[in-house]
Amino acid sequence: MSGLLEVNGLTKRFGEFTAVDGIDFSVGRGEVLGFLGPNGAGKTTAMRMVTGYLPPTAGTATVAGFDVRTQAIEVKRRVGYLPEGAPLYDDMTPSELLAFVSDVRGISGAARKQAIERSAERINIGHVMHQPIGTLSKGYKRRVGIAQAILHDPDVLILDEPTDGLDPNQKHEVRNLINEMATDKVIVISTHILEEVDVVCTRAIVIAAGKIVADGTPQELEARSSYHNAVSLRAAALPASLTGKLESLSGVAKIEAGSAENGQSTITIFPVGGAAILDPVSACLKEAGVAAEEIHVERGRLDEVFRNVTRTA
């Protein structure tokens, strides 16, 4: 219950349209929460309410016990926020921007210099510190946006699409950074890149049409996939009789033939209710004399789960 970040019945209506519809969750230190959902699901609106930019229509969010409706300034002191699209003052240099954010956050003197250097170093923007932000590439702008969010070493870090527009190396760096910082903070990231959830998140919340439709660890979400514990195999020659034999095994729900490449076929064997079926399947293969080139157990596919939960909502 006593998470550092608490969201209770948070709701936002724009006229007739309900963008966020009574969402509840609680996040504690050390958790990295992935906030997933299709475009327009209400992710950004929810984040804007939590960070004190938009006032909620109903419900509230608290950070370290401070209510965003009544103690917004206290909340903002404890939160670092990268808004969607990383808006920044284009006429300033990163160095000037970080100095400005320090001033507003009341960090001065030696502490200011240290904070700016540390966050510039962590996000690797040292060599562009004196170029106008307007002239930087999208990836650098995003990183400057992250640098200002982590400047005051906040308890709660909220990043709206932190890796959008970054190249694979930069994505990797940002994910490493998030993992490094995760131990003593609450980190909430919104993303539509599902692989990111696996790599950085300890927990994922899927929202669709303003409501939470799934909430769990990435593993729990994967377990909801029909691919969970499915066995995929690739072999040079698959006897026609094999399919029938596999289908007759108890615990096997269905078999799907995959693509054939370089004279090799692939098939996927789906279990009933996500049960483990590797042993009976490999026994069956041995019996049929099939030499598999590759055989692996699927963990489950997040994109399939994502589609299922967001479509039904």
Binding site: Y53, P83, G85, M92, F100, V101, V104
Partner: protein, 244 residues
Amino acid sequence: MGTSFAICRRELRAYFTTPLAYVFIVIFVAMNGATAFFFGGLFDRGQADMTSLFSMLPWLYLFLIPAVAMRLWAEERKSGTLELLMTLPVSTLAAVFGKFLAAWIFAGIALALTFPVWLTVNWLGDPDNGIIMASYVGGLLLAGSYLSIGGFVSALTKNQVIAFVVGAAVIFLFMMSSLDLILSAFRGWAPVFLVEVVQSLSFLVHYDSIVRGVIDIRDLIFYFSIIGVFLFANVVIVDQKRGA
């Protein structure tokens, strides 16, 4: 308060890192000189004073001040930086005040740069420098009240052109409110006291008395009231627009 000054410093730096400041100052000073000499007849009047400059100032400000004020909020909203600014630990009042103060200081710098005219009249003759000082105070107050209106209008839109045009129109109405142009619209139906209230809102009436060298406490109250009311309205609009 500290956050206001941090915002004020950022804004001032933004004026001077973009061409805006230089373009504005050059045009302001040049036009001040030009209007003072050609329309005001600075030399032809044969008097060592700056009346010709200060009598044109309200009209120069009419379109130059909205040009400074139009970007105050419209630009932040358009570029999305408003979200960055308003999720820092800053109250809306501190942000409004910081931005206003920066614009006012900037307008003050531009006004101060008309000092060569002052040097000239002092060199040519023996002007009443008390009146000139009062006139500069009057000019500064005029700039502040125009800016507060322009900033308020800028908060209503994300389009800077609309902010400019509407801002200038609102300021024009306030300027003209002592003239028949506006008053005749009220005389037909409004009670006398309302007509007088409208008349008393005129920037020109209050400005003229200051420029004549009389700094009356009522004129100061008038200008600071205008600034206060529009800054307050600015805060309300910034908060309300976020909620919508």
